[in-house]
């Protein structure tokens, strides 16, 4: 009796630990954040949270700083992502060839990725320092005008994008390299027979076959770039003059500097929905490319 019950429900029992983990560590915090976003609370032990309904959301959509942070987030994400995927693909193609020292090149390429982002943020901050930093030393040595980098309101996001590209392009390459190694050899052989050149082979064979992998790499990076927090906080904390304040940084400021936990939660819920929507869009796109094959 007992045994058969066990047997019948085996599939549920096996997933139970994973299910519990997801519920406790992911679903509960998200639901708690959603609930908190309907309250006004400053973490006080004396005055409890006050229910305010959707007032936090209404205030958020009227908040210019929220819209500025949204623009900054997308500016940073779109440019960084485009460069990382393009550059990552180029590096992957390069590493997919046979050459001497290939393994050393692969290892060296991975170094930025394994470094701690906050520590790397500090290093880049020193390099970007306008008066004594290495970046300006280099520019001066090349006879160029020194720049302000992180201290300039217009250069701050491009400067941060460079850090992100430096750190995370290797991950894109790594995923694409794995994808490249699984590609079948037959299409290339028949293309050779037909006399196709390297460019034609890349455009008509490699790219379409690799597309599902590219979409996966893009999706993983998209989620991470949108949520970038560590390098921005370590270098500029959203400055100068809020010009590098992304949604994540603004959420942090609202919560831990302004102590507006309800409002910060509302922002994070909106941010969560943005990330979710973009991810679903990409999945949809992936399914369509897969069907097309």
């Amino acid at each position: 009796m007992q045994y058969s019950w066990f047997n019948r429900n085996l599939r549920w029992i096996y997933v139970l630990p994973a299910l519990l983990f997801v519920l406790l560590m992911m679903v509960v915090p998200v639901l708690y954040t959603v609930r908190l976003s309907l309250f006004e609370w400053s973490m006080s032990a004396v005055s409890p949270p006050v229910f305010v309904g959707f007032a936090n959301y209404a205030a958020l959509f009227r908040d210019q700083r929220f819209w500025d942070a949204t623009v900054n987030t997308f500016y940073f994400t779109i440019v960084a992502l485009a460069i990382e995927v393009a550059l990552g693909l180029a590096v992957a193609l390069l590493l997919n060839r046979k050459f001497k020292g290939k393994n050393i090149a692969k290892t060296v390429m991975l170094l930025p990725m394994v470094a701690t982002p906050v520590a790397m943020g500090m290093v880049w901050m020193l390099m970007y320092e306008p008066s004594i930093g290495a970046a300006n030393m280099l520019l001066k040595a090349l006879g160029l005008k020194p720049q302000l980098f992180l201290a300039s309101m217009t250069q701050v996001i491009p400067s941060l994008i460079l850090v992100d590209v430096w750190q995370w392009t290797p991950m894109v390459s790594l995923i694409l390299l794995a994808g490249l190694s699984t590609l079948p050899a037959d299409p290339y052989e028949s293309a050779d027979v037909d006399g196709a050149n390297a460019w034609q082979k890349f455009i008509h064979i490699t790219l379409p076959l690799l597309m599902p992998t590219i979409v996966i790499a893009t999706m993983l990076r998209l989620i991470d770039v949108l949520k970038t927090y560590d390098i921005i906080y370590a270098t500029t904390q959203g400055g100068p003059n809020l010009k590098s304040e992304t949604l994540n940084i603004y959420g942090y400021v609202l919560g831990f500097q302004y102590f507006k936990f309800g409002y910060a939660s509302a922002l994070l819920v909106v941010f969560f929905l943005i990330v979710l929507a973009l991810t679903l869009l990409l999945i949809l796109f992936r399914n369509r490319t897969r069907d097309a094959l």
Partner: protein
């Protein structure tokens, strides 16, 4: 209820004893800690022996100087002190999270009275110390400077004991001023003229440097506002749109814009002091407590050329801030308040404050400032400047509200406009004033 309390007490004692045993077995360097004393019976001259206190400190010269002195306290009382050390921002987060969770630890913590003091107090996280400070006549609480205690007092309750005080002063390069035949500026107008005269960007020499980051600059701006006769809040109303405040914010921003180094928008105190320490700036206004960053030959290329002056006078005279930047407080939920107070009484007593000042940490006790031994560590020229600033000083350096972060950002925005040259300053000040008023109104709700 009683059983519950007893179980708790037993657990505490057991933990303390086993911890003491552990540290004995671990061979903790034998710093002279009374490892056997920990288990001594109550009723002796060490009634609190065996208690273990958790002390959370900021990564600050004050805690660095205190740590080697702790065995002295542990030996005298039998109390064990466990120290946890954090950087400023992490400290606030750590405390906020623990207090929100209703944690009984830390027992004693270091905090910034003006930054978090009101929030912590109004949230019921700190123990009012009014009944404690006069328990022991030898402690001599009246010895603490009035404005320093004023900083740590909220609604008439003493929320914490001042440990580090600071004032805004003017740092200048003696050699440059001498070469140009300029006296140390006595007024803000003199400062502007001198900074512009010494400003020579082509040689990477800048007239004036100070914090230019939106929120960090607000405290250093305060002395400019006070010296023009303004304040952030006047009689409970936001007043940063007044002609006095607008003039001060324009002066501060213009100095940085027209006589400051490149990249000033990204400067908090470490960057500003860095520029001065590399010999690239003639003037710097910031807190006196940070002077070693300029006079220590390890950190500064101009260590022997630094001059100190009282904050220059504006139209209302010289009114630098004179505040308690760090205080010690007791967690309201601590189960060891007696021991916690014993610790604070020791750490802020005359002996330790003297030792702290000998290490260069300016305290709040008048008797120590009057003691020649107490000022020995400070440069001779700095001592009269500190003394005079203490007399002239104002007891706050930022808006006195609960949501300090939000208020600071509002004020800083106006200076940002001056530095970047965007738009109408008065209009920006009016807008910032509304934001500040909203923060004040929220406090009073």
């Amino acid at each position: 209820m009683r059983t519950h309390g007893f179980v708790k007490l037993a657990a505490v004692v057991a933990t303390a004893v086993s911890l003491a045993a552990c540290s004995g077995a671990g061979g903790n360097g034998g710093a002279g800690a009374p490892q056997d004393g920990a288990a001594s019976a109550p009723g002796s001259d060490k009634p609190l022996a065996g208690t273990e206190l958790v002390l959370v400190t900021a990564n600050h010269p004050w805690s660095e100087a205190l740590t080697p002195l702790l065995p002295e306290f542990e030996q005298a009382t039998g109390i064990k002190v466990k120290v946890e050390n954090y950087f400023e921002d992490q400290l606030t987060q750590k405390l906020t999270v623990q207090f929100t969770a209703g944690s009984a630890t830390p027992d004693v913590f270091m905090y910034r009275p003006l930054q978090e003091g009101r929030l912590f107090f109004k949230n019921g996280w700190v123990t009012p110390l009014n009944d404690y400070v006069n328990q022991n006549a030898d402690y001599d609480f009246a010895d603490f400077s009035q404005s320093a205690v004023g900083t740590t007092t909220v609604d008439g309750k003493i929320a914490g004991i001042p440990i580090v005080t600071e004032r805004e002063i003017l740092y200048y390069r003696k050699d440059l001023l001498e070469a140009a035949g300029i006296e140390a500026p006595k007024t803000i107008d003199d400062l502007i003229a001198a900074a512009k005269q010494l400003h020579d960007p082509s040689r990477e020499m800048y007239g004036f440097v100070a914090r230019g980051q939106r929120s960090p600059l607000v405290t250093q701006l305060s002395s400019f506002i006070f010296s023009e006769g303004g304040d952030f809040i006047t009689d409970g109303k936001a007043s940063i749109h007044t002609p006095e405040a607008v003039k001060a914010m324009t002066t501060y921003g213009t100095l940085l814009k027209e006589a400051g180094p490149p990249g000033v928008l990204n400067m908090a105190w470490p960057q500003a002091f860095g520029v001065f320490a590399q010999g690239k700036a003639a003037f710097l206004t910031d807190a006196d407590s940070l002077y070693t960053n300029l006079t220590d030959p390890q950190k500064s290329t101009v260590s022997d050329k630094v001059g100190f002056a009282v904050f220059p006078a504006g139209s209302a005279g010289s009114k630098p801030f004179n505040i308690t930047s760090w205080g010690l407080a007791i967690n309201e939920r601590s189960e060891k308040k007696e021991a916690a107070w014993a610790f604070i009484e020791w750490a802020t007593g005359k002996d330790i404050v003297l030792k702290q000042q000998q290490k260069g940490n300016p305290g709040a006790r008048s008797s120590v400032w009057d003691n020649p031994e107490g000022v020995k560590a400070f440069p001779d020229e700095l001592v009269p400047v500190i003394r005079e600033s203490m007399e002239l000083g104002v007891g706050h350096d930022r808006p006195l509200v609960i949501s300090v972060g939000e208020a600071r950002d509002a004020v800083g925005e106006v200076v940002m406009r001056v530095i970047t040259g965007e738009g109408d300053i008065q209009a920006a000040a009016n807008r910032a004033n509304e934001l500040l008023q909203a923060v004040i109104d929220k406090d009073n709700k």
